[in-house]
Symmetry: C2
Subunit: 372 residues, 2 copies
């Protein structure tokens, strides 16, 4: 079945430079509501090929556009019907997985009232999910579930209580004497501490891996990386100091005091996606005695020169989507391996700088953590 | 200071039947961004009198309306400026506290891109907060904080894993042998399990009360009351059976197995707001051996006839806003007291069927729970 779908998908993809009407003769008529719709909402919809279809009520509006569309083509313009609804379908199939988007209604930016919202691009955006062939690994299944809890930890350096989310694995409450390792997992620029469980489904990925016996149970801590607060004029100007203080001087001691953790570097990992990878890179190199496992998800590379002379990490994991720079992570891992490090690269097929890459990366990473 | 504000507010309120321009000569020029705005967003704004001001970019739109306004007056119509922004101020002051709203842009329903969203009216709506004189009791303060965690519990009766949020009080993780009472706390129609912590700030109300030594620490469990799934053709048609099964046969056993609870009726309370109060009323009367404390927040009344002959509740709490039917809860409490019950009524001043009433009600209720 998959090969059949694939051939249709590829055909459609190659047609995209010709007129929309022609291309859309190949569109399968099996549209269903996106899994991320608000309760009871029929639109947006997605089909088995990855096309997305939108329907927006705005009877007196002149123009409704959807920011989502094929890369660089400026989104999808919806067509107004006599019933007051604007409708339209993406010109081609979207990558599998999660996508942010928004509407432009008569020149103003609004969210699609049909969908749930997700924090990205420094705002709560509409979300849509293109069901993926491998969606099973992050599906909600009838397995024991861990919990995701909001904690508010005191932060003297920023003069407030700050929020983090903590995933505790299934059984955490019952096995009262067991202690767990911890992964500190960072979101990307424009996102916040909600991203990894909302968009990333980190908790379900872990629940499923644990149920299959594929990973050790561990805690995941996700907090706000302050990535939107810095004067972010390009990567060169980013300073990690403020966040490093919050993370290593405030959050980690709080987590170690309030959760049953094994509080040493061999049982503490740091990882992050995109901008969160840059933070991970900087902080692990600044604090090599704090973290024993490093992971960059579409978030840069380590070189043997950077890590030389410091406490040796048990694992360096680097990943990205195949539409990013897969050769970069592969070469970096090879260089690190040649220098004697336990380095692993992973490339997510047919995805770019987006959450499907990072869901898959976490799924690959988790079984390698805390195994030394 | 408060009396001064009050006189201005009242004057403005009495003016509201005359022209908007005239009324707004009384509007104080101290507008600030609503506390519920998305990070960095300047609008909507609120002033010290409770007026709300909106600013929406929609250069090509003809009409933008805000659903929020004085009761029954159909909201606030915004005026388009030459800069492409629509602006406007409510005709009069709003009640203190939290309000849901949405925009109508050229006939379509959208959220205000400036604000956070809250689930109400069976959709994620824009939220705005009118700072209240008594906002201190639900403010985020530098006190020990409890956690709010998402749990996914197996539900055979509905064939899925269902979500609940669990508030555990400060110290829950550290005091590993201590067991806690539990309040099951329900949202209203159109809302879901996120309402009590997002709109209601139940966790902060508890943190602050506990820090002041005014209440015993207890756990709060908030789950989806299925109130939006029933064919809800008026209260008469509501059947509580499905939700009662989820709550008493599935969720309570799960919570008792996975959290350190005292699993008896003397340490188990049920409360709810509006529709959640109706559920509380029905389920406590159906299962008098399960719950020892009952609370209806703008959610109906108990009569001595209903409770007669059943296990006697340790407390019956009934509340509402002064703009609802305060005499109803007062009379019901008197009748119950005369019949030998420990019944309490509470009326929130100058509020209606809205979250400020319910925040205050929880603040009043918590110290009375689990004291027998």
């Amino acid at each position: 079945m998959y090969s059949k779908l694939f051939s249709v998908t590829m055909a459609a993809a190659f047609c995209c430079s010709i007129s929309q009407i022609k291309a859309q003769t190949n569109v399968a008529d099996d549209f269903k509501p996106s899994p991320l719709n608000q309760p009871g909402q029929e639109y947006p919809q997605v089909n088995s090929q990855g096309y997305a279809r939108f329907k927006i009520k705005a009877p007196q509006a002149d123009s409704v556009k959807v920011s989502l569309g094929l890369g660089g083509r400026g989104g999808t313009r919806l067509i107004k019907g006599t019933d007051g609804y604007f409708t339209g379908t993406t010109e081609g199939p979207m990558d599998e997985g999660f996508h942010y988007y928004h509407l432009t209604v008569d020149g103003g930016t609004f969210n699609d009232p049909g969908t749930l919202n997700y924090y990205g691009s420094t705002r709560w955006e509409s979300g849509i999910e293109i069901p993926a062939r491998d969606q099973d690994f992050y599906a909600l299944k009838n397995v024991p579930h861990g919990n995701v809890q909001q904690i508010l930890f005191p932060s003297a350096s920023t003069g407030t209580s700050r929020r983090a989310y903590v995933y505790t694995p299934p059984g955490y409450e019952k096995e009262k004497s067991k202690k767990y390792p911890v992964l500190y997992l960072q979101h990307g620029w424009g996102e916040d501490e909600t991203a990894w469980s909302n968009q990333g489904r980190a908790n379900l990925i872990m629940d499923n891996l644990i149920a299959e016996g594929k990973t050790k149970p561990f805690i995941i801590v996700m907090t706000y990386g302050m990535t939107n607060e810095v004067k972010f004029g390009g990567l060169r100007n980013f300073k990690v100091d403020n966040f490093q203080t919050v993370l290593t001087d405030e959050l980690i001691p709080y987590v170690d005091a309030n959760f049953r953790t094994v509080a040493d570097r061999a049982h503490r990992a740091m990882g992050g996606l995109s901008m969160g990878g840059m933070e991970t890179h900087a902080i692990t190199l600044n604090k090599p005695d704090t973290f024993g496992y490093y992971a960059l998800l579409s978030g840069g590379l380590y070189t043997p020169e950077e890590t030389a002379g410091k406490a040796k990490p048990m694992l360096i994991f680097m990943s990205c989507g195949s539409r990013e720079r897969p050769d970069g992570v592969k070469t970096a891992a090879t260089n690190l391996k040649n220098a004697g490090y336990n380095a692993v690269s992973y490339v997510s097929e047919n995805t770019g700088h987006e959450f499907q890459t990072w869901r898959r990366s976490l799924h690959e990473l988790a079984p390698m953590l805390f195994t030394k």
